[in-house]
Symmetry: C2
Subunit: 379 residues, 2 copies
């Protein structure tokens, strides 16, 4: 069966859904891999390397001839329509925001797997692209802060005096937040963090951070390990309790995202104005509206404070800033999912497997992911 | 006596020679401090903060009325000429490249102290601006590499596989090199280093690096702890021995500078071409000609290699990239030197002090630093 690897089209996207390493993995399963020319250029994987790994290179993918298409960003409706009936797609599908593509996939009887829907169970961890890419984003968030911060991160004791370490506050202690904590800690910063899930306190501490307890009365734990939304009055209370911690930090990194929804507002402009000049705020949720008031995705916004400015960074495409390793992990996630559906060179999803069933978005002309089906019905 | 703090004029220079902290130190010595309006804007020290610390703010410094002028970058000949007879200047003077300014300082009977000439003895460490700024530059060199590197620095063991740590090679293990080693190590990289001074092997190891021994037959130790130039045939042999280490590294940071001279060529284009695609080379000596062939100060140059490019970075104004803490250390260096020349509110250099005598560039109409006097005589 023929597996196509697309060259990503979206501006700013530098990742690729297969690497020479996963091409080897897939060809060993008996699959033929076709890589679109230049698909790995931006992430450092050359056509020659794919070829050497056993792939063929196509100037353009013949979409109608593919049995499987692997991708990073959601497909366009046009690409979805060009696929043959029964073709399998694997990639990030962002079903809640890409309904026209979902409709086209269903109409074309394409079997689409959305990596966002991979169940968060331990057997599926090696296919969990949200986690692998959040790891990259969390690391990168700290690097972006270090670049813009006019002071050191570590403590320095020098002949000309002692420079104290930077104080970093991380809001949201999921995979990205925990990686941000660990990376800032490596660089010698003093790190504290908060998450509305009480369970995260131990994880924060295990990465070397200090957990900030906010007295919000109840724990908020969503299904599948994600945080659920707080009622508005509790959100207000949360902001009031966070304000002094924000004011005391030199670096603020926010990572609170709710899949398929607008990001919760955690930090107001008033709170940012309490920070000292030179401080840096990195909002990893900027693409879904932001955790910080006034953030602009893909841009730096100066916020005037006493004696200078605070830089508010709307981080966009964070994994694409480390495209080589982000692709390496992503491609493994894709290949691992494809592997559990493949036997003797044939891709044949077994829906009695909860991972396969859970990740499936469309098949046989039906949108099988219920929330997406409901959203489509209402649109 | 009146001490003026200039607003730096050179493009790209964001530091300032005094901070509110050192203004307090100087006023406590009985000195009047005048800060040029906006002098600390770029480094995060506001006019209001200087005022609060006891300084007055002047729209423009009245140069002829100053007893002392503190600065970061070398003065222009015009500024030197505007100073009164007997005025004291303290700052980086780069005497070998700024002969017209040196001549103007001598002609005007200005007493100029060059921080580059501070003796490298332990009592003078707190005034050693070359060291304090090299510390900033070494830290920054790593951050600039991390920003451009398409992979992680640390080892990551994830559900989707293990990512090995970046391999960092540092050439030149002075203050900047040692800080680069320490910072790369903090970030989880595997670090090795070389310096032609055999004595640096222990320092490299103390920062967590592996010292690379090159069999160059003899040790090269210059006066005052700086490396002296290698004869050309030995330099060639050094490059041959380094080539495999360069090829094996993902990140190369070069820091070999000889004060007042062109930087030695350590790495040829041929050697860079041995590195794998995506690798990053940071040349901290770019401003003095570079340690790496083809480097352009202030620019990124892609070098084509098998399967992609290596990015060759001519780092310029590295301390100005962390202007707040770089200024903090620099201003302390300046204030500490001024302090040992000040008693009862009067600045009166005592040339029986080897630090004061060593740092003096011009006084009473004479260029007292011999190499500079010789260079002027020959110009």
């Amino acid at each position: 069966m023929r597996v196509g690897v697309t060259r990503e089209q979206r501006a700013g996207e530098r990742r690729v859904a297969a690497t020479p390493e996963t091409v080897q993995q897939l060809t060993a399963l008996g699959l033929d891999v076709v890589v679109e020319k230049g698909a790995g250029d931006e992430s450092g994987y050359s056509d020659a390397a794919y070829k050497e790994a056993g792939a063929t290179i196509a100037a353009k993918l013949a979409l109608g001839a593919l049995d499987v298409l692997v991708h990073v960003r959601p497909l366009s409706p046009a690409t979805a329509k060009a696929l043959k009936k029964g073709a399998v797609t694997i990639g990030l599908a962002s079903p809640s925001t890409e309904l026209p593509t979902v409709a086209a996939l269903a109409a074309g009887k394409v079997t689409a797997f959305a990596l966002e829907l991979i169940p968060r169970i331990s057997r599926a961890q090696s296919m969990d692209a949200l986690s692998s890419q959040a790891l990259v984003a969390g690391y990168r968030a700290v690097i972006e802060a270090v670049m813009r911060y006019p002071r050191f991160f570590p403590l320095y004791m020098t002949a000309a005096g002692t420079i104290p370490p930077a104080k970093v506050l991380v809001l949201g202690a999921g995979v990205a937040g925990l990686q941000a904590i660990g990376t800032a800690k490596r660089l010698g910063a003093r790190v504290s963090a908060n998450d509305i899930r009480a369970a995260s306190a131990d994880e924060v501490r295990s990465m070397g951070g200090t957990f900030i307890n906010l007295d919000l009365d109840t724990a908020a734990e969503g299904t599948g390990g994600y945080a659920k939304e707080l009622a508005e009055d509790r959100a207000k209370r949360q902001r009031d309790l966070l304000a002094p911690h924000v004011a005391a930090s030199d670096i603020l990194i926010t990572t609170a995202a709710i899949p398929g929804r607008a990001a919760p507002l955690l930090v107001t402009t008033y709170m940012v104005k309490g920070m000292r000049a030179g401080s840096v705020v990195i909002d990893l949720a900027a693409e879904s509206g932001g955790n910080v008031e006034g953030v602009v995705a893909g841009a730096d916004t100066p916020v005037a404070v006493d004696g200078g400015t605070v830089t508010l960074v709307g981080l966009q495409d964070a994994p694409s800033a480390i495209p080589s390793d982000a692709s390496r992990l992503y491609a493994k996630n894709v290949a691992n999912l494809l592997a559990i559906m493949t036997a003797d060179g044939t891709v044949s999803p077994d829906y009695s497997d909860e991972v396969v069933a859970g990740a499936c978005l469309t098949r046989d002309g039906t949108v099988v992911h219920e929330p997406t089906a409901n959203a489509l019905a209402q649109s």
